[in-house]
Symmetry: none
Subunit: 222 residues, 2 copies
DNA sequence: AGTTATCAGCTTGTCTGAGGAGTTGGTTTC
DNA sequence: GAAACCAACTCCTCAGACAAGCTGATAACT
């Protein structure tokens, strides 16, 4: 038997499988730690770590003295997994939807503090575009885009963007590796243009420029 | 001192706080178990359980022999919870972003099967708008909107819409209760117009009509 | 009888000590 | 200079002990 995962993770997977199969109903108590340990043939502390992992994923909940209870039948959302599996073009289209609308809203709602964030992140991005490593540049680029989202003052859009970021980051770094000329680093003007439109309170222009920029990004990877 | 949380959970919160504060950069290694245990004044197994919990939340990753590493700066939020807590206007703006872009994509990608789905769901919606209970009408309305999303042929957008649906459904039913005249039920024409624009392969018009319709919905609840 | 107190026996929570297994970086050797 | 080696470090797993908390049954009381 090959053990590519630690025992605790394997135990967590096994428990998740059993929970998903309906072996224990919602809200029901699992067997005690010692019982489970004997069933799976591992130590008690290993079971405890498995339970703790599933507790972190909001599937189980343990109450001292009472037991361990099922609070969800499957790991909720798993957006990380969805995004990992999804085509990068699908992800970028999702990003485009979010960010274009955010740019539009930002143009109506931006505060002086938001504009300050634009100035800072744009300056960072300019510096990073010149001679920094790829990952620095990517971080600086994402920081500006996040500033745009923040200026929309919409918690849902912000959270959506943050969910997308890890996947986008990886895709961007991969893309840079294949692009020795660093062509994309020269689109500083496009970013400034988006910031300007938001500053000038022009929703349609901000949305259009955002759409244009992100469409270009999408085209470059497909 | 009252300890309503187990030590392991408190330790996990403390670690999450420090990670969020940037004490350890992304990808960086945390101090060893024994060091952390001494720092927080708890036992080693407690630290291990805290780390395991954050591993379940995809914030940390431990590699045997190497150490524990930061893989995300913040816990990926439970989307159900985020949406429950969020203002309904924020949610509707998110929906607007997703659905407007989906309408645009659908106009280029719709298949004959998609158009068929439009016809069926629109007919259902018309019937339900006349004399059905509120929840039937809401389901019929959402079914049409989901058909639009489906026609965009983008897995991420579809998944996003499905994540939003429960929250939207509840908000719509609440809204209907307060609206005895059923004014909203008369906007069948707006829905037909969206479907027509997609059928006629007019992305901008489809997006504009979708935006207009959803803006009206947003305005009616705020 | 009905209510309250108490308690035994479960449960999870925490700590410690001991090895096992894997990684890493420096040293030695060729 | 490159490959083999190794020691020190890391996490992984187990076992045992005791603390802390819950639950249901029994006993005591009103």
């Amino acid at each position: 038997m090959i053990r590519r995962h630690p025992l605790a993770e394997q135990a967590a997977e096994e428990l998740l499988r059993r929970i998903g199969s309906g072996e224990w109903a919602l809200g029901q108590k699992l067997p005690g730690e010692t019982t489970l340990a004997a069933q799976l043939g591992v130590g008690r502390s290993t079971i405890r770590e498995a339970v703790r992992e599933l507790a972190g994923r909001r599937v189980l909940e343990s109450r001292q003295g009472a037991g361990v209870f099922v609070i969800a039948h499957q790991a909720s959302e798993d957006w990380d997994k969805v995004l990992r599996r999804a085509d990068i073009t699908d992800v970028l289209e999702g990003r485009l939807a979010i960010e274009t609308e955010a740019a539009r809203l930002a143009a109506s709602r931006r505060t002086p503090a938001d504009l300050k964030a634009f100035r800072y992140t744009l300056a960072d991005r300019k510096r990073a575009s010149e001679n920094s490593p790829d990952d620095w540049y990517v971080e600086a680029d994402l920081a500006f885009h996040r500033a745009v989202i923040t200026a929309a003052h919409n918690a849902v859009l912000t959270e959506l963007f943050d969910t997308f970021v890890p996947r986008i980051r990886r895709a961007m770094i991969d893309m840079l590796r294949l692009d020795e000329q660093h062509r994309h680093r020269h689109d500083q003007a496009a970013h400034v243009a988006i910031a300007d439109a938001i500053r000038d309170r022009d929703p349609d222009l901000a949305a259009a420029r955002s759409r244009e920029h992100l469409s270009a990004v999408r085209s470059s990877v497909s």
